[in-house]
């Protein structure tokens, strides 16, 4: 789809590199994978490399909100990314004006920390399972908390999917703005790690790559006076299936891009994460690409449902800081679909 004069007005990121887009971008600029921590639960056959989000540098203005007292790490990552994308002035304005901010959140595993804890309690004795934990296990708890902190009553939607789901979610945000349902859209992709999701990921990796956690957020607004990155195109997602293996799906989305040709001015932000089976798909489909290229998941780990969001954040940041004029986000998701998008400025 073409997105008119809607721009990316802000971005936010929380990764193993730290809290904020700058920390994320600095790690990407080095091009080196962050040092992972091998984790192994007693009795399991091998350790799995993980890249966890470090403790925040201090407290945030929003962190005392009553809704966040028991919130999971995922909610905190999402909230931090959302707050960064919006910025303090916009957040203050949101609370004082009738501005309708739609919120869309994507994830793959969701609130696994509380889900695992709660189910552990259920298996021990369901009559003693904590009523405080259960509501936090619901997929949309995180988006609900973010909306509550931002005092938004506009539509809020949680979409569960693999890393590529972030791009269709961006499109949903654009649709909401184009049909007048909201004045702006905040699209957040996030994920948290615990032993459940780490071991699950380990079943599909080959021992060298790292699984990560965090969140990425993109704020869409109608274009203001100052130039900002725009979304030129988001392809229709190609769902994997018996007749559409991941490589074919990514080939299809590349061919659906209006300008998918190699160009030294265009940055390719791909979904390579260090898992050879998955990286081979991106390598094959973009074999002729000779322009600049970023692979965020190779640096901060495969952040599952957050990975597509972090690709989009990286692309917007590189454009916004004048490092390139155009960027392609190529996302071959872990298990569902492939999608691509093109961002530009000017």
């Amino acid at each position: 789809m073409s997105c008119g004069r809607i721009c990316i007005a802000g971005t936010g990121a929380v990764t193993a590199a730290g809290w904020g887009v700058e920390a994320f971008a600095a790690a990407l600029r080095t091009g080196r994978p962050l040092e992972p921590q091998p984790k192994r639960r007693r009795g399991t056959p091998r350790s799995i490399n993980t890249l966890s989000v470090p403790e925040p540098p201090g407290s945030f203005a929003w962190s005392r909100h009553p809704r966040l007292r028991r919130a999971s790490p995922l909610t905190r990552y999402a909230m931090a990314a959302a707050a960064e994308a919006l910025g303090p002035q916009r957040i203050a304005r949101l609370r004082e004006s009738p501005f309708r901010l739609g919120i869309i959140m994507t994830m793959l595993g969701g609130g696994v920390v509380y889900s695992g804890r709660f189910f552990g309690e259920v298996l021990k004795d369901p009559s003693l399972a904590s009523p405080i934990l259960f509501p936090e296990t619901v997929y949309n708890a995180h988006a609900s908390h973010v909306a509550a902190v931002l005092e938004s009553r506009a539509p809020c939607c949680t979409v569960v999917g693999d890393s590529a789901q972030f791009l269709p979610a961006l499109e949903m945000g654009l649709d909401w703005m184009l049909d007048g349902r909201v004045d702006g859209a905040l699209v957040v992709g996030g994920e948290e790690l615990d032993w459940l999701s780490t071991e699950a990921w380990g079943l599909f990796s080959d021992g060298f790559a790292a699984v990560g956690e965090g969140a990425g957020a993109v704020l869409l607004e109608w274009e203001a006076s100052s130039p900002a990155p725009r979304i030129e195109q988001i392809t229709t997602a190609e769902t994997y299936g018996p007749d559409c293996p991941p490589r074919l799906a990514l080939e299809r989305v590349r061919s659906a891009l209006e300008t998918g040709q190699s160009d030294p001015e265009t940055l390719l932000v791909d979904s390579r994460c260090g898992v050879s089976r998955r990286d081979a798909i991106e390598d094959a489909v973009w074999a002729d690409w000779s322009g600049p290229r970023l692979s965020p998941a190779r640096v901060v780990g495969d952040t599952l449902g957050a990975a597509g969001a972090l690709q989009a954040v990286a692309a917007a940041h590189w454009i916004g800081t004048g490092c390139c004029a155009r960027a392609i986000v190529s996302c071959a998701g872990q298990s569902q679909q492939a999608a691509a998008a093109e961002f530009a400025i000017g």
């Binding site: 259920v122 997929y139 609900s144 506009a154 539509p155 809020c156 693999d162 079943l203 190609e238 769902t239």
Partner: protein
């Protein structure tokens, strides 16, 4: 809407569900799928799945053998909807989007994964398959593969409004002209984690769910699926399809009052109803029946009753309202989709589904609470779906009458 498929504890398919809802039959029993001995509540709307998997033709045998309960419910409803719509090769060759809502997806598979990981940490046998099938989009993909369609799969998880949101988002895609056809709906299966979760909140009725009754004491959980095939009116007419009804409006609003409790005055519920009616271009005078969210919990029903009365004003007394959760329990992510299909049945059959278990209506119910089976003239139905996290959604469904 040109195709509809439904599975609830009343049975598999349109016919037995239509009879059950029309008569206000209650299909709740003690849970058999997992141990509820130590739970406060013990009943739910459990589906008897058939042994014969006649609907599975296009799925590989390997995948058939691995189907979890939630996916099975979804596939049965999806196959019925497909057959009713008469869709075939034209839809298979086009990219039909699939938009589904679910609250817990294949949580049963997640539970199995967890149990094995804890009991036998080194045993990876079957764990990868459990992880694959647990992921929500695996269920959407299974349905697409069963029907042989290829299009983007979107899995909405807005708790108990997921099914209604999926239908609303799908209808908006058709309305905007982005697609001509879309498959949508919702599904959820009973599982131990969610049952224990609602029980821990003391939201489950230890007796029987009695939505809008003055002595109501909680909800019953249920399971099932509702799938709708939507297409543009022009396309449906072009292919001379049987048009079951119209999705005329969708509205959503967020209640940020509390993670699990509605605003006492039903502010966001009111907003969702108003938004749905605004899109449909109708007002309270045009709505004849509301299929309420009506879980049967004291707080939810009170907030919804207030919202309906605020929305309808003096017209409230003329609007028939009932909650079919009295019959089948609360289907969570499937609720909005199944209840939209109940609304569709009402529109087509011109009857109102009663909640026969209600003895003394809450005085807040200043509307026509349907407690006995009856026939009525119904032009439009409003369905309400409100969920944890403050997700509120309403749909306006209209009767299709071809003008000469």
């Amino acid at each position: 809407m040109t195709g509809a498929g439904i599975v609830t504890s009343l049975g598999l398919g349109w016919d037995c569900n239509e009879t059950g809802f029309r008569d206000g039959r209650v299909a709740l029993r003690e849970i058999r799928g997992f141990d509820v001995a130590r739970q406060r509540a013990k009943t739910g709307g459990e589906v008897d799945l058939p042994d014969a998997r006649f609907w599975l033709g296009r799925l590989e045998l390997r995948r058939q053998a691995r189907l979890d309960r939630a996916t099975t419910l979804l596939l049965i409803a999806g196959a019925e909807a497909w057959e009713q719509a008469g869709w075939g090769e034209a839809e298979r060759s086009a990219a039909v989007p699939v938009i589904l809502g679910s609250s817990a997806g294949a949580m049963n598979r997640g539970e199995d994964y967890y149990k094995q990981a804890v009991a036998q940490p080194g045993n990876r046998l079957g764990q990868a398959t459990r992880v694959e099938n647990y992921q929500a989009h695996a269920q959407g993909r299974a349905l697409a593969d069963l029907l042989g369609i290829r299009g983007p799969v979107t899995m909405v998880s807005n708790a108990c409004s997921s099914g209604a949101d999926a239908i609303g988002l799908a209808a908006n895609l058709v309305r905007a002209g982005a697609v001509e056809t879309v498959l949508c709906g919702g599904y959820d299966a009973l599982c131990q984690l969610v049952f224990a979760g609602f029980d821990s909140l003391q939201a489950l009725s230890p007796t029987q769910p009695r939505p809008f009754d003055v002595s109501r004491d909680g909800l019953a959980l249920g399971e099932g699926a509702g799938v709708l095939l939507l297409e543009s009116l022009e396309r449906a007419r072009r292919r001379e399809a049987v048009i079951l009804g119209l999705v005329q409006g969708y509205g959503a609003a967020l209640d940020r009052h509390h993670l699990t409790q509605p605003h006492p005055q039903g502010d966001a519920a009111l907003e969702a109803m108003e938004a749905a009616c605004r899109q449909a271009g109708v007002g309270p005078d045009d709505i004849d029946y509301i299929n309420a969210h009506g879980t049967g919990t004291p707080l939810n029903d009170a907030a919804e009753a207030r919202a309906i009365v605020r929305w309808a004003g003096p017209r409230a007394a003329q609007i028939a309202v009932s909650s079919t959760k009295a019959s089948i329990g609360h289907l969570l992510g499937a609720a909005g989709a199944v209840e939209a299909i109940v609304g569709l049945m009402s529109l087509r059959g011109q009857w109102l589904p009663p909640a026969t278990v209600v003895r003394v209506p809450d005085p807040l119910c200043e509307f026509d609470l349907v407690r006995e089976p009856r026939r009525a003239r119904i032009r439009r139905v409003l369905t309400n779906s409100f969920g944890f996290g403050g997700a509120n959604a309403s749909l306006v469904l209209g009767r299709f009458e071809e003008r000469p």
